[in-house]
């Protein structure tokens, strides 16, 4: 019973994690939820693991748990990758703002080109400040 309560608490945390990730990546959230539900089922009905393992052609219930654990690890790695992508997008917006603020035209353009507007760096600054909206598509 102690082990069941302990693992249920852990899987409850996975539930909360999936809920938190839902807005950023629905796919990862769905996978986490399915994994947590399957885990709870196995924790509270352990006799079913061997039967289920035999049904899917694995053999032993322990092997099924092992394979599930590998699947969970892959989901975690995928999620880390997606988070890194999001951070890279934020870095890109920041680097772009810096680059545009420091843009320089050729000498020929600077002379006698009064129509040249100043760069709207404020727009990109807003994107950076928005942070979470980096992945949005600013289309009309």
């Amino acid at each position: 019973m102690i082990a069941q309560i302990f693992f249920s608490a852990l899987l409850g945390i996975v539930f909360l994690y999936a809920w938190k990730e839902h807005r950023r990546s629905p796919a990862v959230a769905a996978l986490s939820l399915i994994t947590a539900l399957a885990g709870l089922y196995f924790v509270w009905v352990p006799s079913q693991t061997t039967r289920l393992a035999e049904f899917v052609g694995i053999g032993r219930g322990v092997d099924l748990i092992l394979y599930t654990w590998v699947a969970i690890s892959l989901i975690v790695i995928l999620n880390l990758h997606l988070k890194l992508r999001t951070q890279l997008e934020m870095i890109t917006v920041l680097a772009r703002a810096i680059a545009l603020a420091g843009a320089r035209g050729p000498q020929a353009d600077a002379v006698g080109d009064p129509s040249t507007p100043s760069l709207p760096t404020a727009q990109w600054s807003k994107e950076v400040a928005a942070g979470s909206r980096v992945s949005g598509r600013p289309r009309a």
Binding site: S25, A27, H81, R96, L100, G102, R104, A108, P117, W124
Partner: protein
């Protein structure tokens, strides 16, 4: 300013901007910019955090230079170039490889096609034009990419990974590149399909040189591109 450039020729294309994304292209960028400037095109070189003198050479040749503080990738550089051109009032934007494999004369054909077909995107196709010394493996990869493009976007193209394109202001504003690196070419097409704006393919010539082939994409890159596109599809 390069004395070989006649600044008065810019008047012929006052609102057309050519964008070159360049990373460590010091060996080629001067010649590419000089040719573009001689033809009268305003040129933006986005120096994508080069370790060599790409930026200064481009500036000396007469280009506007926007320098990324770190290397982000060609997709990010093109988006930066488009943002810069739009902020300067560009009406037509052309993306042009910094490798020297595109012909300056093809820019006019693209722009004329935009006007003639009332399109917002004119996409260069080496398979409608001349692809000189195209290696068989690369031809195969590019053919497979066109099939992939048709399946994923519905666009019927003969060449889905050609860096020579012309966009109207409206077309450029409808595109937002999030793929910083190699997958940006596929992303541009997906964005074009999503925008539902008209597009046209135009025959252009590609000159494959030892330099451009060494810098070009390989078969293994195709797998990474697919993974990148898949990963983007999993996030909002």
């Amino acid at each position: 300013m390069n004395p070989a450039i006649n600044p008065t020729t810019e008047v012929a294309h006052p609102q057309l901007w050519v964008i070159c994304a360049a990373y460590n292209k010091a060996a080629m960028i001067g010649r590419v910019v000089s040719e573009l400037r001689r033809a009268g095109y305003r040129t933006i070189v986005v120096d994508d955090g080069s370790a060599d003198a790409t930026g200064p050479i481009a500036a000396a040749a007469g280009a506007h230079v926007v320098t990324h503080p770190l290397n982000l990738g060609q997709g990010a550089a093109l988006q930066t170039g488009m943002d810069y051109a739009l902020s300067r009032g560009a009406e037509v934007l052309v993306t042009f490889d910094a490798d020297g494999q595109h012909r300056v004369a093809d820019i006019r054909r693209l722009v004329e096609a935009l006007a003639r077909e009332r399109a917002d995107f004119a996409l260069g196709s080496r398979f409608l034009g001349e692809a000189q010394d195209l290696p068989p493996l690369r031809r195969l990869i590019l053919r497979a990419a066109t099939v992939f493009t048709r399946l994923t976007t519905g666009l019927r193209l003969t060449d889905s990974h050609n860096g020579l394109r012309a966009l109207t202001r409206q077309g450029a504003a409808a595109i937002r590149l999030r793929q910083n690196r190699m997958a940006h070419a596929s992303e541009i097409l997906a964005e074009i399909a999503r925008s539902r704006l008209p597009y046209v393919e135009v025959p252009v010539s590609i000159e494959y040189t030892a330099y451009s082939l060494a810098k070009g994409q390989r078969l293994s890159d195709s797998v990474l591109i697919l993974l990148d596109l898949l990963a983007q599809g999993l996030t909002r």
